[in-house]
Symmetry: none
Subunit: 195 residues, 4 copies
Amino acid sequence: MTKAERTRELIITKAAPLFNTKGVAGTSMNDILEVTKLAKGSLYVHFEDKEDLAHAVVDYHLERLGKTVESTLSKAASAHEKLLAYIDLFMDPVNPLLVGGCPMLNFGMESDDTDQVIRKKICLFMDNGVKMICSIIKSGKDKGEFSTDWDAKEFAVKMFATIEGGIMMSRVAGDNKTMKVIARGLKKEIEENTA
Amino acid sequence: MTKAERTRELIITKAAPLFNTKGVAGTSMNDILEVTKLAKGSLYVHFEDKEDLAHAVVDYHLERLGKTVESTLSKAASAHEKLLAYIDLFMDPVNPLLVGGCPMLNFGMESDDTDQVIRKKICLFMDNGVKMICSIIKSGKDKGEFSTDWDAKEFAVKMFATIEGGIMMSRVAGDNKTMKVIARGLKKEIEENTA
Amino acid sequence: MTKAERTRELIITKAAPLFNTKGVAGTSMNDILEVTKLAKGSLYVHFEDKEDLAHAVVDYHLERLGKTVESTLSKAASAHEKLLAYIDLFMDPVNPLLVGGCPMLNFGMESDDTDQVIRKKICLFMDNGVKMICSIIKSGKDKGEFSTDWDAKEFAVKMFATIEGGIMMSRVAGDNKTMKVIARGLKKEIEENTA
Amino acid sequence: MTKAERTRELIITKAAPLFNTKGVAGTSMNDILEVTKLAKGSLYVHFEDKEDLAHAVVDYHLERLGKTVESTLSKAASAHEKLLAYIDLFMDPVNPLLVGGCPMLNFGMESDDTDQVIRKKICLFMDNGVKMICSIIKSGKDKGEFSTDWDAKEFAVKMFATIEGGIMMSRVAGDNKTMKVIARGLKKEIEENTA
DNA sequence: TATGAATGAGCCTTCATTCAT
DNA sequence: TATGAATGAAGGCTCATTCAT
């Protein structure tokens, strides 16, 4: 890793919580200077402009989130356990995996009408997320864990949406009550389709 | 309605789509000047500062949303129909009721870490939304429309969260496919609990 | 006194301490609105503009100061007593006769390069002040209170300047020590010239 | 001297006459931009805000004044000559040492109720000024130039105050007549105490 | 005479960005 | 690669003032 790469990485990791907490528009390049303790011009050695940095930060967040999901699921023995583990990963929106909360919600809601590049990154990531849940269910069906007439696609979409909606509601409420109700409901539905 | 009230209303209604689309941080007072065609100082005759205006705009959005829901539901004959009508109301996130999309998602996600006043406004509004769905289900049970062992609270929370998550996903995707899958799933569950 | 005259008077008396404390440039028309509890336009019914009001306020201050001096001196029996009474009048700059301190210093120092009307008002007032002290000394000489070879003009100027300088120093210091030293010195010189 | 230091110095020296002439409240950052020919943001590279710049400007004025006094007095051979030289330094308030007049009067009278930092800077400077005069007299006594029963402290305070008051009066009058009377008086008193 | 909504110039300051070093 | 001084557009807001009511 060259020095340039290390500095670039430093900027991204320090900027990430800021962008995810205050939004892209709400975060100034100065805010980032402050937390990185870098000099004024240094940011522009590594990033073309604020937009460029914002895109890198979104990538970073999604990558971290993706890796966390992946590593968690890899530890689960069965498809059934994988689904439960996935849900548990998002059970505590008040103390979220990533400072500032779910980047799909944060960047998705800020960018939908303002930054098509970010919007598409998140869109792609969510597609993959749904597909992953889908394939877990399918593999569970193959292995005889789940009833074969369970609609994998529909449940995957619903589970994804419900968790995101639950995260939003819990963060706005400032407590996890909503998330708990939702987790219970999803898990019940999983059990109903478990052979 | 005095002249001042009319101007205040004008500012709010013109500013509302801007704030809901670009966010509070992403909207400048100049942007609002432009759409209202008012002079520089005039904004401050009616609002203390940008924050004050943002709060009024959030109130306006939530009020409009609330009234739309209310008037739609009032036209539905039964509890069963009310639930379906509620879902249908949010079926088209790409062409939303309010320009910019769902204000709960937009302002909720921007404010959760930055503006406690807005956060609380939305929290309260969502609480009421869930309670309303809850009471529709309960009255449906009373009238014999729904099976009595349906968990009203759980379904209300889940339905609310799922719709919000679905709106987010559809807006980020730029199409309503996700929302359709979700609507189908929710309606199926309603049918399963219809006597 | 008509209503208009009463309102005009109200504005002047309420604005006076503000101007004398924060200066003309440092006082806004809004500040004055606040203390008078009048409506926006009302100020301009009675005064052409801020400058016009400032001039009226300066007049008011000088008039009040003049009357206070006059009434104090009128109670003194002899020329000798008058001089001492005059000095005593300015012995407590920390708690001054007029809120904000000596208007000659305040408005004089602000206006000398910026407002010729105010400058001249104060110049005239100071001239009269010096002349008054001068004529007291002269009448004291006539009555045999003071030695006839005392230079009335020189002492009057010096006394006036020293008191003003002492006021400045005491206000900046935030205590009256300097003023006490000065008063003692002036009184000693008066005694030295008392027959 | 780095470039930053040079620019900082440039700003201070160009801003100094403006602040001393029109006051802090009466001088806008734009006024300073104009005389420095710098670009909008540049001021804030070197000063936190207007207040910060104002404080630097006050320091600059007092330093210049202090150095002028010092260098003038250092050229005087005796204590007696030093006192006369000091008085002569302030004999022409209409064409003052520093553009705008005496900074102690100008900033002192503006700040006494509004800016404690400036007030204290001036208070300290005046204290030192009085002390300096005091020590000149004392050393003059030691050397046998002045009569030993002359009250050094009292005269120092009086001389300082009288000169300041005289400056104020002369500037407001727009001519130096008052100052001349005062100088004559002070010098006479010095002679009376000269052995 | 009094009101207060409206005006637009101007306030201080921050913004993202550039560039000579 | 890193620096930090410099830029000027734009930020939110206040200013003195006007005018229809």
